[in-house]
Symmetry: C2
Subunit: 263 residues, 2 copies
């Protein structure tokens, strides 16, 4: 049995392409960055690219494909965004219409793929600093919340930031901010430390996405901008078609985590 | 007589708008970021935005205006990119046709303005670290060179990186790399340290743009990606119309230099 944590990104993408690995990608190809995916048609690509440029904490771009090309040349030369994700979601006019393992049938010559940084990279950095991650300990999804923090509009795209939350012991909060600041391409520094209500989160035990986690005595809720933001916002605009990865089923890139560190 | 180094960005933009200040902006509004400008029509805006996203060292975007709007809402809410630069250059099909102090007559409803980070910010940071800047000492322009380093293509835009060079004493080279690494939005870390020929620069005393400067015994030529790159590359593609600032005549933003520091 192959150790998926030690497999190369290319090996894993090949298995995924052949439908031999239809499951969440957390823990696979340790040390390599994984990415969120959003595919839109060209008519919305400029607005969405501009939205990402204006909101780099929520939407840190790792790669954007050429119009009509499914190859993410910078993130994975041998990759194909139509086949190399274990599970996709197809949305039409903002409604989920299908989950599939291959989107070749949906691909059109005017489509553009956006690969957006994912928090796995900074979670590894936190773990390497002996800061544990509660949702990993508890074997569930990270809790995510709609905040009251407006994103900067771009063309048709507008809405509020979605943030993920990790409880951090008080003594480790400063270090957690330092460690994640090094990785702006995967959401970077926290967007808020402490009081959830200050950013419009009324019930920390009822996340809008993902699962609730335990917050222990002496721990502080720390919030980071979340890669669900662009999907959430794009859905609100109800484009004719938009294709994304299914939650947790990410694109595994050839980019080493450490190469995303700015210092 | 007003001290231009202590004037606010808004005061200076107003003077520039009224044609009371038609000169290079170096040394004005100390502590605030200045920006390179490129204006293109919408048909090329997606490709150019993608080019900037793929080449962040040469083309670090500070702001992109909405299609048809001359207001850089993020960089300067009260600014107007049609009037607030002391001198503009208008290019048609890659040829310089006019230098003007106001481009209102050229403005069209499908134009998009790109404000790109400028090295003034990281030069201040170097000076604050007691690392002197030779071209400032010698009262001339920074020397700039066409390198053999290819930019990553995007649509119609492709070509080589232009780099600026500053001679740095050997003992300060590491510190210079650290200090400028903090500012990715204004070109960031050096792209090369040492041998000019390694990046295709055959004669350090004959820059392609700007002026030659003295390199003293014990000093190392250090190269940074330069904001002239996008103009140089856009010129090669010969768009119907492109408007830029004239060299040294920058857009003065409301963004404090220090807020561009990533850590």
């Amino acid at each position: 049995m192959i150790d998926l944590s030690q497999a190369t990104p290319a090996e894993l993408r090949s298995m995924i392409r052949n439908n031999e690995l239809i499951k969440p990608t957390a823990g696979m190809a340790n040390g390599y960055a994984q990415a969120n995916l959003a595919i839109l048609k060209k008519e919305h690509a400029f607005d969405f690219l501009l939205f990402c440029q204006r909101n780099p904490k929520s939407c840190p771009l790792l790669d954007v494909t050429e119009i009509g090309s499914p190859i993410p040349a910078f993130a994975a030369k041998s990759g194909d965004i139509r086949t190399d994700i274990p599970k996709y979601r197809v949305y039409k006019y903002g409604e989920l219409v299908e989950e599939v393992t291959d989107i070749s049938n949906y691909w059109e010559d005017d489509m553009v793929g956006f690969l957006i940084g994912c928090s796995f990279t900074f979670e590894h950095a936190l773990l390497n600093n002996d800061i544990s991650i509660r949702h990993i300990e508890e074997g569930c999804n990270v809790p995510m919340y709609k905040t009251n923090i407006p994103c900067i509009e771009a063309g048709i795209f507008h809405g509020k930031m979605v943030a993920s939350m990790r409880p951090i012991p008080q003594k480790d909060v400063v270090r957690a901010a330092q460690v994640t600041s090094r990785f702006p391409a995967v959401h970077g520094a926290p967007i808020h430390i402490g009081d959830p209500e200050a950013i419009g989160v009324s019930s920390i035990q009822h996340p809008d996405f993902g699962d609730p986690v335990t917050i222990r005595e002496g721990e502080v809720p720390v919030f980071w901008a979340c890669g669900v933001t662009p999907q959430s916002i794009a859905m609100e605009t109800k484009p004719e078609i938009m294709i994304t990865h299914a939650p947790g089923h990410m694109f595994i890139t050839d980019i080493r985590d450490e190469k995303l560190g700015v210092l």
